[in-house]
């Protein structure tokens, strides 16, 4: 039996006290993404004790769980009903909590075809920087009552509130899946993916390791079989294992010793960036991983030239600008929003941007 525990009140009280004293808090879950974002500062606020699935109704396609619930526990419950978290949250180091997945806003291989973590958000319960517990959204698919604070939480890195509870849209797990491997240059991934999608093929992931393109097809058995025949290519031995290694960064590209790891998010059809280093492509070419010793400024300039943005994902200087710098008006809106949720500035200060 999974452990279930509601620590909402004690978390809220701790925040209220910190707010009064002006003590910064570093919200911590399993620590699987401790490397991500700017260096944490402040007293640890451990939320892993606040856990458990609160409600799961497969025919409503909705699951609600507390922030500290391990992803593995949620995925096991969904799997038993033939369902899944369609955004495939990464489980770096094999761990991760649901709250951490939402706060980091990271999505896995299926993202360009089914949606990101923010796309699946239906509702949240959060404790803001004053320690007030509030509920936004809910457990229904369509809801436009009030501002969409739930989706705002995705990717906010805990700077706006401690995520106590999350309601997510879940999806049926495809009945069939198959991965084919093709010899084609990395620069052609978008063009090929588009062609296959327009031909009705059930694409659910692409990955190019610099040498070969891996294409996952998932859906109705007939659709997967038809597409597999049309694409040709080779088989791989352990397709689920391969996609897990891409999702969780256990693939050789990510584990080898080397320069810092950058994540480049690019518009559809963008050419490959003119940057020194090794590239790994995902999301039909819209997410590139770059291992490069090049300086941050030149990486950002080249990525911005292509219409995208670059994040210093792992390694390098975690005290500088880890995320792409914001324009002046956008930065002002960010500061005002932060103040609206956390006037004393105690929740994960500086984790996303300096002074935020």
């Amino acid at each position: 039996m999974a452990r279930v525990s509601d620590r909402s009140q004690s978390i809220a009280e701790r925040i209220a006290a910190a707010s009064e004293a002006g003590t910064p808090l570093a919200i911590t879950g399993s620590g699987s993404k401790a490397f991500y974002g700017r260096a944490p500062q402040g007293e640890a606020l451990d939320v892993t004790g606040h856990r458990g699935i609160v409600n799961y109704d497969p025919t409503e396609l909705v699951l609600t769980a507390r922030g500290g619930t391990p992803l593995a526990e949620i995925e096991t419950a969904l799997d038993a009903e033939g369902q899944m978290l369609a955004f495939e949250p990464p489980r770096y180091g094999g761990g991760g909590t649901l709250g951490g997945a939402v706060a980091a806003g990271l999505s896995g291989p299926r993202r360009p075809f089914t949606g990101a973590v923010r796309d699946m958000m239906l509702g949240t319960r959060v404790a803001n920087g004053r320690g007030e517990i509030m509920r936004f959204g809910g457990e229904v698919m369509k809801n436009v009552a009030g501002y969409d604070v739930s989706r705002l939480m995705a990717g906010s890195l805990g700077t706006l509130g401690v995520i106590l509870e999350i309601s997510l849209k879940v999806l049926p797990r495809p009945v069939a899946a198959h991965t084919v491997v093709l010899e084609t240059p990395m620069g052609d991934v978008f063009r090929h993916s588009e062609d296959w999608l327009r031909r009705g093929m059930p694409l659910s992931a692409t990955a190019h390791d610099g040498e070969r393109l891996y294409v996952r097809l998932s859906g109705a058995r007939s659709a997967v079989e038809d597409a597999t025949r049309a694409l040709g290519g080779e088989r791989i031995d352990d397709a689920p294992g391969f996609w897990r290694s891409v999702r969780d960064h256990t693939h050789d590209f990510f584990t080898s010793e080397g320069p810092p790891l950058w994540r480049l998010a690019l518009p559809p059809g963008a050419p490959l960036p003119a940057l020194d280093g090794a590239l790994f492509s995902e999301w039909a070419g819209k997410q590139l991983w770059l291992r490069s010793a090049a300086d941050a400024e030149s990486i950002r300039r080249e990525t911005a030239r292509l219409g995208g943005h670059a994040t210093l994902f792992r390694g390098g200087d975690r005290s500088g600008e880890v995320f792409h710098p914001l324009e002046a008006v956008t930065l002002r809106l960010h500061r005002e929003l932060k103040r609206a949720f956390d006037p004393a500035g105690v929740l994960n200060p500086g984790r996303l941007y300096p002074n935020l």
Binding site: D119, E132, M141, K142, R198, G200, A265, T330, L337
Partner: protein, 499 residues
């Protein structure tokens, strides 16, 4: 509606020097772009919710983004409220003018700027009609997925403001899932880009926050949406059930079988008969409910799914199932559903369309309660709904010429929305809060939440000039409405004196 007070004193606190405002705006707008004359302002006095009427102080109709920026800068400087408006099809009074403010019409922003067929993106101005995007994309074999029933008339800027849905959103998402970038004019006239063509952007997800924000955070002047390839194959099935509950169970079973249809819509018996009388779609007028199910994908996939869906429907008591033989028949099956609202107009002189969402498992109970509530007020309600996602649209039939019926319709509507909250749903699934449901917001949210909404609003609009009095109630309004969200036995708004 009339029984509600529209604007409250705190929403109309502005001291506006109209002559000075006119003089300043006249310098930046083209001559025909500033409407001062009362007769010319009259057509703007209401939106799709015609029971609420309010003349704006002025109407501004800019031609360019630079003019929008100047209008906002002037209004900020002079502390004048602004209500942005596209096609004005809001069903919740979201674009109802403010008596002391400028109605900012974006009607001239009606161009599809660019269809990028290769990358499946469309860049459009906010006044472009929803359907016009799909029409512009059609020659490339592409379409824009969110399809509100008003898509022939409603504009995309308003779709973002309300996070509009439609028949296809169970599978293809709402507006928020299909818009990638916005250009926004802030309340003080700055221009800012929100979102990006890339899969995400750095920082907070302001793109999500703008969806459904009802014109309260900024003025949208440019929108990039993603387009989808037309499905290769589409099948439309129509099934009859003796009882709405059986149809509801069939819906749950289809989803439990792992199938997400492109569209899944239900009508109760009275709605079916009204639609059939109106469009002669061949609907089963003996049925207690009909379910329309659209499946799309590759030919093999659709064939597999159709077989599975038919089996599930029969297992859950379908008394008849028809599969549309050709495109004409598919269109006919849909025609009645899409014409359900005008069809209701033939049953009674007036009807009031509600919009709430519930967890689907409570469908039978909720429909039973709706019928009881309506009867208690001496009215009839017919039901059409997005069965796949639990979004209900009860149509309350009444005659405004009969004394008391308008107020009764309003009371039924409010009771239905409160019922939606009671079973774990929401007071609005896709029409927005606007002016119409602002009191019911007090039922769904406690005071800390309402205060947090106001704090979010202040982050973007510290003077409270954008669409004041809409979407988020003041705590004073909630106290006066007297319908307060009671959470764990604690009354919200304990800081307010009880009347």
């Amino acid at each position: 509606m009339s029984a509600h007070a529209l604007f409250r004193p705190e929403d109309t606190r502005f001291q506006v020097d109209a002559d000075r405002l006119i003089e300043r705006l006249a310098r930046v707008l083209p001559a025909e772009g500033l409407v001062v004359d009362e007769d010319a302002r009259r057509p703007y006095e209401c939106d799709g919710l015609a029971a609420y009427k309010q003349l704006p102080l002025l109407v501004a109709i800019p031609d360019t983004i630079a003019q929008v920026q100047e209008v906002m800068a002037i209004c900020s400087e002079l502390n004048v409220p602004v209500v942005a408006r596209g096609s004005g099809t809001s069903l919740s009074g979201g674009s109802l003018p403010h008596p002391q403010g400028v109605l900012l019409s974006l009607a001239r922003f009606n161009r599809v700027k660019h269809i990028d067929a290769e990358r499946r993106l469309a860049r459009v101005e906010p006044g472009v009609r929803n359907l016009a995007i799909t029409e512009a994309a059609a020659p490339h074999g592409l379409y824009y997925a969110p399809d509100p029933s008003s898509q022939i008339a409603c504009s995309i800027g308003g779709n973002v403001g309300e996070n509009a849905g439609g028949v296809h959103c169970l599978k293809y998402g709402l507006t928020v899932h299909n818009v990638v970038e916005l250009t926004v004019v802030t309340v003080d006239g700055d221009l800012v880009t929100i979102g990006s063509e890339a899969p995400d952007s750095p920082g907070y997800d302001l793109l999500a926050l703008f969806h459904g924000s009802e014109g309260m955070l900024g003025v949208i002047v440019d929108i990039t949406v993603q387009l989808l390839p037309n499905p290769l194959t589409k099948d439309v099935l129509m099934a009859s059930f003796d009882r709405v509950e059986d149809g509801g169970r069939a819906v749950a079973a289809i989803i439990a079988a792992g199938i997400i249809p492109g569209g899944l819509e239900m009508m109760d018996g009275p709605a079916t008969r009204a639609a059939e009388d109106f469009v002669h779609a061949g609907y089963d007028i003996e049925a207690g409910a009909i379910l329309i199910c659209e499946l799309d994908g590759s030919a093999a996939e659709v064939a597999d799914q159709r077989e599975a869906v038919e089996a599930v429907m029969r297992e859950h008591g379908a008394t008849a199932i028809q599969v549309a033989a050709d495109d004409a028949e598919k269109a006919r099956f849909w025609a009645g559903r899409k014409a359900a609202f005008p069809a209701a107009g033939r049953l009674a002189p007036d009807y009031y369309c509600m919009d709430g969402t519930i967890p689907r498992k409570h469908l039978a109970t909720v429909l039973q309660r709706i019928s009881e509530i309506s009867e208690a007020h001496g009215l009839q309600t017919i039901n059409v709904f997005h069965a796949g996602d639990g979004n209900l649209h009860p149509l309350i039939l009444f005659d405004a010429n009969q004394p008391g019926q308008l107020e009764a319709a309003e009371a039924v509507g409010s009771a239905i929305l409160q019922l939606c909250v009671e079973v774990g749903g929401t007071v609005t699934g896709e029409h927005g809060v606007g002016m119409e449901k602002i009191n019911e917001m007090c039922v769904q949210f406690a005071s800390a939440e309402i205060e947090q909404f106001h704090a979010v609003k202040r982050a973007f609009d510290p003077q409270g000039l954008l669409n004041p009095g809409k979407a988020i109630p003041t705590l004073n309004r909630c106290a006066e409405f007297g319908k307060l969200h009671v959470h764990k036995g604690e009354l919200p708004h304990p800081e307010l004196e009880r009347l």
